[in-house]
Amino acid sequence: MKFRIDRDTLADAVAWTARSLPTRPSVPVLAGLLIETTSDGLRLSGFDYETSARATVEAEIADEGRALVSGRLLADICKSLPAKPVDVSLDGVKVSLVCGSARFSLQTMPVEDYPQLPEMPTATGSVKSDVFATAVSQAVAAAGRDDMLPLLTGVRLEMEGSTISLMATDRFRASLRDVPWYPEQPDLSAHALVPARVLADTAKSLLSGADVTIAISSADQGEGLIGFEGVAGGGVRRTTTRLLEGEFPRVRQLFQTQSQTVAYVVTASLIESVRRVALVAERNTPVRLTFAEGQLLLEAGSGDEAQASEAIEATIEGEDISIGFNPHYLLEGLNVMSDPVVQLAFTQHTRPAALAGVAEVGADPDLAFRYLIMPVRLQN
C-alpha cells in the first residue's frame, strides 16, 4: 500500500472517519481506522458494530493494499501536518507517513481481525442536504439523551410518498418536521428509528454536497440498517447505522389539539429574555410565562432565593394564561426555530403547548416544523 494525497483532503477525511470511532472499544481493533487503496482511490473506514463510516477520496495510488492504524493518533497527526503533499506507505508492520520534513512511523493492527463493514442498502430516495441538515437539527432538539431509554434517543423517520417526517420525543417535549424529498418509488411508505446523535452528526457532515442519498433496509431483511451517502471534502462519504428497535410513541397525534390562547412573540427577544430570567431558576425549577394585556411576563426564582422578572411585547389572541416551563426545554426548541416570530398555542397550564414559526405576527404558522412542550406544574 502506497499513496500520495493532498494534506487537507486527507486531514478532512481522516477527521470525519475517526469521529465515529469508539473511545472505549470493546475489542482493540475497533479503535483502528482502516486505510485501503484501490483503483477508485483511497478509502478510509471506521466501525463500532453499530455505526460505520467510510470516506472515499482521490489520491495518487502507487500500490494497492490495506492497513489498520490507531484512528485517534492518525487524526491527531493529520490535523497538525504542514500544508504539503502527504506520502503514506506500508513498510512491513509499520505505516510510514511523510509530509515535508515531518516523518511518522505508526504501529499497525491485524487487518484480518477487522470486521466487515455492513453493505449500504439499496437507495430509498434522496433529499437536499441543506434542507435535511436544518430539519434534522430541529427534530433532534426534542430527542431523549437518557441511554436507559434507548427508544427515545432515536428520531423516527416516516416516509410517505414525497415527504419524510422526522419526529422525536423525550416524554416531556416532542418535535415534528416535514421535509420534501425524492423517493426512488413514488408510492413509497417506510419508517425507521435512527439514533439521534448519529443522525445529527451525519446530516451536518454531508452539508457540502447538494444531495444526501438515504437507504433503508428494514428489520425483516435481516437487521434494520440505514445508510446515508453524500459528497463532501472532494469525495464520497457514507455512514450506516443500526436502527433502534421498539414501538415509538405516537407523536403525531399530540400535535392535533385545539387552543384557547394563541400568542405571537419575536423569536430573538423571547430567547434572550428566557435566558436572562432562567439565570435564577435553580435546577428543575420553571420559568413562569404569563400572557396578559398585550405582554408576556417572564418570572423565575422563589421567595427564599434569587428572583428575576422581565416583560416583553406579545400579541395575544384568546384567554390570558400563566404557565411554567423548564427553561432548557423552551430554549432548545426556540433555538432551532428559523422564523423571526414564534407562535405559541396553549389550552391549559397543565396541557402541552405548541410552538411554530411564523413570518410575521398573525400569519399562518409554518407547519413544516412544530415543537411541543409539556409544562411544569406551577405551585401557587
Binding site: 416524554r171 409544562p375 406544574r377
Partner: protein
C-alpha cells in the same frame, strides 16, 4: 454560678422493637426467647440474642442456635401503631425530635431546663412515659453530641439509661471497642484490628494522618473526628427522608427471569406508592442485589427529570436488572431491592400524554383505590397467587 455538666441531646432507641411488641401483646412470650420472622430473622428478643441469634440471620441457623425459641410471624400494623405511640411520647417531651427510623430518634431538650429540669431527669421521665403509655422498654443515651448520645444508648441497652457528662466524654469514649463507632462495619473493623486498633482510644492515638493513610481520606477523617467527639450536627426537626427503598429476600431455588420481574414489579409498585404518598419525586433509581455467594452489588441510574411515575421507575429498574442479568445467571441471586433517591419536593415536570395518558392518571387511580380499600384490593394480574411478604414499616414521612 451553676454550670451544666450534662449534654442536651437524647438518643432514644426501643429495645428489640418487634420482639418487645410481641412480648407486650402476648404474656406467654415474656421472659422467653422470641424470634420474629421465620425465613429470615427480622428481630429477636434479648433472651434469644443471648443464644447468638441476630437480626437478618437465616431462620434455620437461628433455630439451630436457639431451639427453644418461639418463632412468631411479623405483625407490621402493630409495629407501626406502637411506633406512632412512641413518637407521640417524644413529641410530648420536646418539640425538637429528629426521627431516624421506626424505633429510634434524637431529641434535643436544651431549651427545657427551666420547665422540665436537667436532661438526665427528662430522659428518665421519657423512659417511664414510654413504658406506662406504650408498654415498651426504651434505652436512652444523653450526651453533648448526637454521635455520643447514640453510642451511649447502645451501651445502655437493654432497658437502660446512660448519661455522658460533658467533662468526661473522652474517658467514656476511649475504652470502648472501635465497632461502637458509626461507620465501622466488618470491613473497617478488620482493617483496624489488623493495625492493632481495638479501642476508640487506640484510634484517637493514631492521629488523623495515620488514619487517612490506613483507611482513605473519607473514612479516616470521619473516624478521627468521632474518636475526638467532634460532631457539630444539630438535631433537625422535619428532616425529610433522602431515599425510599424496599427489598425482598429470594429463596434457595433460582427465580426465573419472569419471577424476578414479578418481584421487581412488586418492589417498584411499593416504593413508588410511598414516594407519591409523601408528595415527592425522585431522580435516582437504584437496584440492590445479593448474589448466591452473598456478595452485594448495587446498580443505579440518574434520570434526566425527577419523577413519581411508576412506569418510569419501572422502565429504569428493568433496564438496570437486564444489565445485571449476566452476573445473576453466573452467581445466582438471593435478594433484590429497589430504592429511589435524590428525593425532591420541587414542582413536577409533566409528561406528554402519549396514547391519551401520562401515566399519572393511572397512578392516581391505583393509589386512591389502595388508600381506601387497602393494598391487596388492587394488584397487577402477574402478582395473583404470589406473596412477596410484608412490607417493612418505616418512619412516617
Amino acid at each position: 454560678m451553676f454550670v451544666s455538666v450534662e449534654g442536651t441531646i437524647l438518643h432514644a432507641d426501643l429495645d428489640a422493637f418487634y420482639a418487645s411488641v410481641e412480648q407486650r401483646d402476648n404474656p406467654r412470650l415474656r421472659g422467653r426467647p422470641v424470634i420474629v420472622g421465620s425465613g429470615v430473622v427480622l428481630a429477636s428478643s434479648y433472651e434469644a440474642r443471648a443464644c447468638g441469634v441476630r437480626t437478618a440471620m437465616n431462620g434455620r441457623q437461628a433455630y439451630r442456635l436457639c431451639p427453644q425459641a418461639i418463632v412468631v410471624p411479623p405483625r407490621m400494623t402493630a409495629y407501626v401503631a406502637a411506633s406512632r405511640a412512641v413518637f407521640e411520647v417524644f413529641a410530648q417531651t420536646t418539640p425538637v425530635v429528629e426521627g431516624l427510623s421506626i424505633d429510634e430518634a434524637f431529641l434535643d431538650v436544651g431549651g427545657l431546663r427551666r420547665l422540665r429540669g436537667a436532661p438526665s431527669g427528662i430522659a428518665r421521665d421519657l423512659r417511664r412515659d414510654v413504658l406506662d403509655q406504650v408498654g415498651l422498654p426504651i434505652s436512652v443515651g444523653v450526651a453533648r453530641t448526637k454521635f455520643l448520645a447514640k453510642v451511649a444508648s447502645g451501651v445502655a441497652k437493654p432497658d437502660g439509661i446512660l448519661v455522658v457528662p460533658t467533662d468526661a466524654e473522652l474517658e467514656f469514649l476511649h475504652p470502648l471497642p472501635v465497632e461502637r463507632l458509626w461507620g465501622v462495619g466488618t470491613v473497617t473493623s478488620a482493617t483496624l484490628r489488623a493495625a492493632r486498633i481495638r479501642t476508640v482510644g487506640d484510634l484517637a492515638a493514631r492521629g488523623e494522618k495515620g488514619l487517612v493513610s490506613l483507611l482513605g481520606p473519607g473514612v479516616g477523617r470521619h473516624l478521627h473526628d468521632l474518636a475526638h467527639n467532634h460532631d457539630a450536627r444539630r438535631v433537625q426537626v422535619g428532616r425529610r427522608r433522602g431515599s425510599v427503598g424496599a427489598q425482598h429476600s429470594l429463596g434457595r431455588t433460582q427465580p426465573s427471569p419472569a419471577e424476578l420481574d414479578a418481584v421487581l414489579l412488586a418492589l417498584v409498585d411499593r416504593v413508588c406508592r410511598r414516594l407519591r404518598a409523601g408528595g415527592r419525586t425522585s431522580r435516582t433509581v437504584t437496584i440492590r442485589l445479593r448474589f448466591g455467594d452473598f456478595a452485594r452489588a448495587t446498580r443505579s441510574h440518574t434520570l434526566p427529570v425527577p419523577t413519581a411515575r411508576t412506569q418510569v421507575v419501572l422502565d429504569t429498574a428493568r433496564e438496570l436488572l437486564r444489565a445485571a442479568r449476566p452476573s445473576i445467571e453466573r452467581r445466582g441471586v438471593t435478594l433484590l431491592g429497589v430504592a429511589v433517591g435524590g428525593l425532591d419536593d420541587g414542582p413536577e415536570q409533566l409528561a406528554l400524554p402519549f396514547d391519551g395518558t401520562t401515566g399519572a392518571e393511572l397512578d392516581t387511580a391505583v393509589d386512591a383505590v389502595q388508600d381506601r380499600f387497602g393494598t391487596p384490593a388492587l394488584s397487577r394480574a402477574v402478582q395473583l397467587g404470589r406473596d412477596h411478604g410484608p412490607a417493612a414499616p418505616l418512619l412516617p414521612d
